[in-house]
Point group: D2
Chain length 290, copies 4
Amino acid sequence: MPEVGRGRVANYIPALARIEPDQFGMAVRTVDGELFGVGAAEAPFSIQSISKVFTLTMALGFDGEALFERVGREPSGNPFNSLVQLEHEAGIPRNPLINAGALVVDDVLLSRTYDAKGAILEFVRDLCGSLDVAYDEEVARSEREWGDRNAALAHFLKSFGNLDNPVADVLDVYVHHCALRMSCAQLTTAFQYLARGGVNQATGERLMSASLTKRANALLLTCGVYDAAGDFAYTVGLPGKSGVGGGIVAVMPNHWCVAVWSPGLNESGNSLAGTRALELFTTKTGISIF
Amino acid sequence: MPEVGRGRVANYIPALARIEPDQFGMAVRTVDGELFGVGAAEAPFSIQSISKVFTLTMALGFDGEALFERVGREPSGNPFNSLVQLEHEAGIPRNPLINAGALVVDDVLLSRTYDAKGAILEFVRDLCGSLDVAYDEEVARSEREWGDRNAALAHFLKSFGNLDNPVADVLDVYVHHCALRMSCAQLTTAFQYLARGGVNQATGERLMSASLTKRANALLLTCGVYDAAGDFAYTVGLPGKSGVGGGIVAVMPNHWCVAVWSPGLNESGNSLAGTRALELFTTKTGISIF
Amino acid sequence: MPEVGRGRVANYIPALARIEPDQFGMAVRTVDGELFGVGAAEAPFSIQSISKVFTLTMALGFDGEALFERVGREPSGNPFNSLVQLEHEAGIPRNPLINAGALVVDDVLLSRTYDAKGAILEFVRDLCGSLDVAYDEEVARSEREWGDRNAALAHFLKSFGNLDNPVADVLDVYVHHCALRMSCAQLTTAFQYLARGGVNQATGERLMSASLTKRANALLLTCGVYDAAGDFAYTVGLPGKSGVGGGIVAVMPNHWCVAVWSPGLNESGNSLAGTRALELFTTKTGISIF
Amino acid sequence: MPEVGRGRVANYIPALARIEPDQFGMAVRTVDGELFGVGAAEAPFSIQSISKVFTLTMALGFDGEALFERVGREPSGNPFNSLVQLEHEAGIPRNPLINAGALVVDDVLLSRTYDAKGAILEFVRDLCGSLDVAYDEEVARSEREWGDRNAALAHFLKSFGNLDNPVADVLDVYVHHCALRMSCAQLTTAFQYLARGGVNQATGERLMSASLTKRANALLLTCGVYDAAGDFAYTVGLPGKSGVGGGIVAVMPNHWCVAVWSPGLNESGNSLAGTRALELFTTKTGISIF
């Protein structure tokens, strides 16, 4: 695919800037558990914002839809780290998948758990049915050090009274779950509950009602790929979540989860080759939610 | 349903302001042609912005995806008649379903047809398989007279060079298709091509490829209900298009189309009771695209 | 002066686009009536937005400070023809010297006079003590034809209920006073009332109280040069009003009025050489209001 | 004056919220050194943003007009602590007197002095010719603790590369100079250099050239009173700087400085009674810069 190796690798933190751009991996796992892999499907990478789906699922488990009193569920139409919208809308982030919204979600987890970082790690390991998932402390530290935009967002939220915990604690949780390292194969396992009506594939445990699972997928579709929601829905046609590490996970409910990874990003911060691979995948198979 | 009769009837033009708010109708038509109706399912009403799906379909037929050089396909995150976004984005409307985008679509139809108003009416009648669809000239006139916001949008687009035809002509086409009168039952017939992979139910004629039909549905999901796309996807879970006349049409691909009508609007300009009815419908049946 | 002939001549209407850029004129007239001229000081040019000071003065004469219920008096911080601010601020233009505000002022004149265009012309002729001032009908027509941005502003104001007269009438008055042709020498006579505490130099008639004259000068300082108010106050240090025809008039209360003309514009739409000439003038003389 | 005791005392930090609102003081000092005082003219209060004029003067002394590569000089047209503008304008604050701009100025002082807080205090004491000026450490601490909006601004500036020093250091300097306690009488002495062409009244030392002093006054006029520049220029007609502690200082070049203090604030964050007192003062005397 000519897109592999093109685009710009995320360079706002040194730990991500030195990734080789011409890598590509893809994995599809069916709701029956069958796995198909291509290229670097087993290579771990920094999942970054993909982790926000995990923290959102945990927060919905704690607070249910009351969460939406502190964060909206509309597409932002602005870059993921914009402060503008937050100012116009008095400290209520547009949705839980942009940075500001994810910070509010992390604040919920800090209030609801004894050890938020530990709880998140345990949650993700349970989803994967594997202990082989960990925080990359170097990436977390680098993100903390260079993360002035996120620090600005957090202080801004705090100034509106929409964070209960200290800014430093919220940022610490945030940079850690963004620094989770996982492979495409692992991600397709972890995201199965969104394809299986809320039931964890690894444990058979129900995480969410079928109705709430549909709603979570709707959130991914309208808010999961930064300010490219319309384009992604148009070309790919699946609920998905991307990260600046170059990963994208997408869900075809009742059928499969698919994950791609390629570090070069397009203008919206989504993997260039990854987006294209998903578009080809749904176009060739003729399968999407629409 | 307690929502019926609540909300605010559109009052920006006299011809709409005098509608009785406590009316409700709903119709579901399967891809096999079976029709189920409730309440005022056969009562004609002013479809307003729902008509933009028809004009968009026509323009895609003429220009294909080249249309997206003149109009985007991202959710707007702003009220439907906002000029702000247009200024920041140099005259390229966010998507073809907000007012500014629909004016560009109408400009395409004016350039591509001899008689745009006639062509639109014929297209809709073909979709319905019936001559019983007409422009409400009084509503069109009232909308023209009170439509300073749309006139502002059109002149603004013109100033950016994104209209080829005279502003007055574009506005004339616009107010006419918004003034189409149709019933819920008729709308479920007319929208069938979006549930049937692009094939007109009334004539069996293919209007769009299966792939483009999926893409059109994706546009409806992300851009069809003004600035409530996230909420509507979250609570209803179907691609849909609403109008300030109180109508909403939604599509469950390969299954059915549903139309509701109730004139009271919520803050986003969507039918209050209609949105609630669709939410109940997809929640009770457990059927949505997610 | 090396700036003469540089910058971009206003090209949004054909009638202005064909002006030779390398022209320069300057005139200073003291409150005692003495006149000093340099270069093309007697050459008439299209005064464009400078005319807004005349219409504002007339409207203040009719409505007094009640005018400020329909228009603000804050610098805009945005380009002169922005619709953004107008939307955020619900149809109340920031100040009477940006386009939107000037349209509201023209609406006042239409309501308060039998023949607004005639009344404006008579007012300006009285200020000059000369009949040798006229509308350039070709410029007015060209501006009307190409003025979609102003038409958008006017319809937008109308949609907020902040115009009482028909949009077409308001635009007709607007394009006419913008199309007044005057020379630097004439402008220094016409603006004398702002240097002389409200008293017309030509007739000795009082147009405004001394207090209101000070206030009008304050408006010029904060709002007279589009979104360059800060820079102009910083470098020139005088209340002034510019036009896209390349003219600028500035006032040193109790001392003199100065007018410059050179058609090349800077990024803010102010005469490049004119701004520089005024900066040199106040720096060399050491005389400014600060 | 009926305005005394009205308005809202600044309540964003506890240390300011408990001030009695119904206090009023005013002092005028001529360029010859004569002092006239009314009410609590000798009572010290928290000068807050008025201090930004001192730090700006120091930074201009170090960097000259090169300072304006890092900060603009246009009125903001937005609340003093807005992040919106900063995002649209890529980290260059509109002017040095809004919070974001003052943080950049403080960053300059940190880079140019060994001990910025000590240098500022010494500078202000020199202006007053008195050691009786000090930081209120309790106010500084309270402002640091509750200053999430300013922390957001500082991190935001840092993310754009427009701060060289650590965010914590910049904020520490900022909250200290904002916590200076001075009386109206002291402020009229300290500000004399702006009325005396750049010459310190207490020491006779020249701080700025006459030309730069005029320019500093122009900055105060267009940017000194938050987003009320137009109104203040219109009603008061003097360059001035206000603080949320309720103080305002204004300058009539070559004549006098005037300072007022009354803690109740209007919507723009300027002293309500103070603004009114200054308006009466310039209206009754007929003396303003216009």
